[in-house]
Amino acid sequence: MPSHPDHRGFEIVAREDFSDVTYLLEVHHPQMAKAARAGQFVIVMLHEHGERIPLTIADFDRQKGTITLVIQAVGKTTREMQQVCRVGTHLLALTGPMGEPSHIGGQRHVVCVGGGLGVAPIFPQARAYKESGATVVAVVGFRSKDLVFWEDKFRACCDEVIVCTDDGSAGLKGNVTTGLRQALDADPEIDEVVAIGPPVMMKACAEVTRPRNIKTVVSLNPIMVDGTGMCGGCRVKIGTGIKFACVDGPDFDAHQVDFDDLMVRLKRFSETEKAALARWEEGCRLGTAQPAGK
């Protein structure tokens, strides 16, 4: 049964913590594991009082029938999930795979750039490019050495992995654009760059490749509700037109994206979100937080 493996929702079968803000959840959903392709995402709802949040499918295992999410705890929902999502607990809702899969095939030399919460989402792309026969360089950025994760997974499917850290404690010192430049300088035959991460980072990558005329794809992360094209909340400016990222994307041509518009729109609810987090933290302190998803 696809939607009701049981009445409680979708079971979490594995969890790993990469740092005090980044954690991995592996969720049982055989049908989704079968359908998922690189570039797609899910919408998750933790419990009845929860909000619907989009998360990229960072990995899927068709044999085990699971999908993997890698989440950064940034606000109320992702912090609460960090607190309550243990192995054996359930997500109330999990819908997907959403979005158009990445267009993979035909490229010969590709650089996959992942920064911050984009490191995990870039993984399925890197693997898919490799499987399609391309030469793949991964550039992954972290704040410091302790936060590095999945280096082994990237090494297993890429021809080269360039780790960048802000403080230089591992790999190159600097952000991912330093690594991207290095990769582009080393291989003049790069015909596609894919970048996933915070909008500032994707924008910076787009500016690196624009003068070099290299096709660049970014995965946009606007605020979503339904993920089915019904609300238009996720609309983004691409060239002169408007697109809904959940159904027309989330992948778009980086050189056409209006990143400034995206960044402004991501702040739509920042006041409410701050207040929600503060209320929740206060609730945790007092032990009166809402009962979480069972």
Binding site: E51, T95, M98, V225, D226, M230
Partner: protein, 470 residues
């Protein structure tokens, strides 16, 4: 046997129905209009002259046997009335509340044609019957003999629900797939509680479950599996697509991407389905102090009245034609006026103005006047020179229509029409054998009862396709 009623002998005034006081209701989400009491229902029943050739039935898109159910009511048989209605209309408690009756059944009622008389309040009577059925737990479940056929329904709005019910009654094993975490379609996410309480939708879904229909939520068809897979490896003998038309349009004026400009669908979904209005729920809800809603259909009326209830001080409706052309139900416009909505008829938005930080500060509009009739036969609005003006606002809600949802088209080889809706023949068959479609995804945004009618029409075709007796 009661004496034969005539236009001359029936009560001239419609039975009084209680409504929440406008000042009070503009602050809550409780229902605006109450159900007729049994006595009131009796008075209204008396107003129907039970015409030999009733106009009302022709006015109803699904041809509810109105005279027949009113006759049962006249005989005091509410259960009988329920059975008559549900032969054609599965959801009397819903349609009684939300049908645009003035253009449908009531618009064609003979009594309404007589000078000075309002038509029989068919919608209210239908709701009375529907609500009584829910309160008493009545359902109209025939003896069902399983026939072994498996039917898949995509989308749990009124079209999908109606098709599911008919196929289940025919003995098929029916599964409804819904992308959201709760079923109901627009009835759930769009239409607010003060017009259609969630408890009514829950009761109707429960009735379908009693017929054996299975609901599987959190399933995005097309992406989790395709229509072709349903017909192929998943073993469905027939499939119905009722995915609705929810892909909102934006006006394409400068500033329409600013924070504070959102579709009515987004506002209503956050408020209704995600229950952001209730407190203790995590979904944020943008609340404005000064709100402008663009459009004057049912969706716009709902957005206006929701914003009012969320505490906005000023709520304006911006519509480029006049009140007479407004597509919303007359009752909703009237209720909105009573609740203090400021209607700016004959006004079109020109530009959304910015506060310098990416938020809405004001809306610039232009006055319009009605010119020559356009293709739709309605007089088309033309701008009045030098009539631009602006007013301060912090929220602009867009309710100017929707396009076809693209997901099924993106993920299957099904034939679409020029505008992206699913192409069907007169029997609602699509280009894929065994796959039917109906409701807003075929016609574009329409009404609940039309979507239900399409679901039932498709069910008839599916039965024929499967070789089942209708």
């Amino acid at each position: 046997m009661a004496k034969k009623k005539t236009i001359k002998t029936i009560p001239r005034e419609r039975a009084h129905v209680e409504e929440q006081n406008p000042a009070l209701r503009a602050r809550n989400f409780d229902e605006v209009t109450f159900c007729l009491s049994p006595d009131q229902a009796q008075i209204e029943t008396d107003r129907c002259i039970e015409c030999p050739n009733p106009g009302c039935v022709k006015g109803c898109p699904v041809g509810v046997d109105i005279r027949g159910f009113v006759a049962k009511l006249a005989a005091g048989d509410i259960r009988g009335a329920y059975e008559v209605i549900t032969e054609t209309n599965l959801l009397p408690a819903v349609c009684g509340r939300v049908c645009p009756q003035e253009h449908q059944c009531e618009g064609a009622c003979v009594v309404g044609k007589a000078k000075g008389l309002a038509p029989v309040a068919i919608g209210r009577l239908e709701r009375f019957v529907g609500d009584t059925a829910i309160a008493n737990g009545w359902t109209n479940i025939p003896y069902i003999e399983p026939n072994g056929y498996k039917v898949g329904i995509v989308g749990s709005g009124p079209a999908g629900m109606a098709c599911a019910a008919d196929m289940a009654k025919a003995g098929c094993d029916v599964t409804v797939y819904e992308a959201f975490h709760v079923p109901g379609g627009v009835l759930r996410y769009g239409i607010p509680d003060f017009r259609l309480p969630n408890s009514v939708i829950d009761a109707e879904i429960a009735n379908l479950e009693k017929l054996g229909v299975k609901f599987e939520c959190n399933v995005l068809v097309g992406r989790l599996f395709t229509i072709e897979q349903m017909i192929g490896e998943m073993g469905f003998d027939a499939v119905f697509i009722g995915t609705g038309a929810g892909y909102p349009t934006f006006p394409g004026i400068p500033g329409d991407n600013l924070n504070g400009v959102l579709s009515a669908n987004e506002l209503l979904t956050r408020c209704n389905m995600m229950r952001a209005k209730d407190g203790g729920f995590d979904t944020p809800l943008p609340i404005g102090t000064r709100v402008a809603v663009i459009g004057a259909g049912n969706t716009a009326m709902d957005a206006l009245r929701v914003c009012k209830r969320l505490g906005a001080a000023e709520v304006r409706c911006i519509y480029r034609r006049s009140r007479a052309e407004a597509p919303a139900r007359v009752e909703e416009v009237h209720h909105a006026e009573e609740e203090g909505i400021d209607f700016q008829w004959l006004t079109a938005p020109v530009e959304v103005l910015d506060d310098g930080k990416g938020n809405v500060r004001a809306l610039r509009c232009i006055r319009m006047e009605l010119g020559a009739p356009d293709a739709s036969g309605r007089r088309s609005p033309v701008p009045v020179a030098d009539s631009e003006y602006e007013f301060d606002c912090d929220l602009v809600v867009v309710a100017i229509g929707t396009n076809a949802n693209p997901i099924i088209g993106q993920t299957s080889r099904i034939k679409l029409d020029k505008r992206g809706y699913i192409a069907t023949d007169a029997d609602l068959a699509t280009s894929i054998p065994g796959v039917y479609a109906g409701g807003d995804i075929v016609t574009g945004a329409a009404t609940v009862i039309k979507a239900m009618g399409a679901g039932r029409r498709a069910a008839r075709s599916m039965k024929r396709y499967l070789g089942l007796r209708d």
